[in-house]
């Protein structure tokens, strides 16, 4: 088993990056690897409750989040600094995520076999 860390750093609809990383996470989960899924920078917007991209003809990127645990992705983290820098708070989020700091993320990266960032 390998430790794979995913840094979700992009907002949800401006590009396909959020969805592309989510698909990587779910694929790795099927192979039962150890996964650390970290939302930071604009990636914290992926976690916001109340997203409604119907008028963009896009799928709701956050719809898959509640199912992450079913897929065995239970290590989901949120960079608190990124959230606060954007004027957001944890009670606006769709799913609970363990808050972490840049120092925590550095440690998780150091303990990973591979790291992917989108």
């Amino acid at each position: 088993m390998k430790t794979l860390t995913f840094l979700a750093r992009s907002g949800p609809y401006g590009s396909s990056k959020a969805k592309a990383l989510l698909d990587m996470v779910l694929s790795a989960a099927v192979f039962e690897q150890k996964i650390q899924y970290i939302f930071l920078d604009d990636g914290v917007y992926q976690l916001l409750a109340g997203q409604d991209p119907a008028l963009l003809a896009a799928k709701n990127v956050s719809a898959a989040l509640p199912a992450l645990e079913l897929y065995g992705v239970d290590q989901v983290y949120l960079d608190l600094d990124s959230l606060q820098a954007r004027g957001l708070s944890t009670d606006q989020l769709l799913i609970p995520a363990s808050t972490c700091s840049a120092g925590d993320i550095s440690k998780m990266i150091a303990e990973s076999d591979m790291v992917f960032s989108l």
Binding site: G14, S15, S16, L55, L56, A57, A58, K59
Partner: protein, 130 residues
């Protein structure tokens, strides 16, 4: 008013092509005239007829082709951008001995002169996906 659009982004990868489509529909609904839609750089992928979108996703390629046909829009794909991205019409596919035609026939393939012409003949030119 007479409005032209320049689209730089591929469908799906960035949001610009979708924003442009919505803008184009709104401009038509407000009875403005769309002089030309010019697809440049990665924007030429909007004219790719080989794209296959998942059933549960919005097919932006089909949406553009439909809009162009319904409103008889002048939709031009930049030839220099298209060739290097493999967006080819029958003539080019044959000339370069390629295994397929990939541009939707609703779109014309032509040069940047068509973009200049759009600038000269439009009141406004709006760029998307830069």
């Amino acid at each position: 008013m007479i409005i032209s659009l320049v689209i730089h982004g591929a469908p799906g990868t960035t949001q610009g092509a979708q924003t442009a489509l919505t803008f184009c529909r709104a401009a038509l609904a407000a009875d403005h005239r769309i002089y030309r839609v010019f697809f440049y750089e990665d924007g030429v992928h909007n004219a790719n007829a080989l794209s296959v979108w998942p059933q549960d996703e919005y097919d932006l390629n089909a949406a553009w082709a439909t809009l162009v046909r319904e409103h008889e829009l002048d939709a031009v794909v930049c030839v220099a951008s298209a060739l290097r991205r493999g967006v080819l019409n029958a003539e080019e596919a044959s000339r370069y001995e390629k295994t397929g035609v990939s541009v939707d026939p609703a779109f014309d393939i032509s040069g940047l002169g068509q973009w200049v012409d759009a600038c000269l003949n439009s009141d406004r030119v709006v760029s998307f996906g830069v």
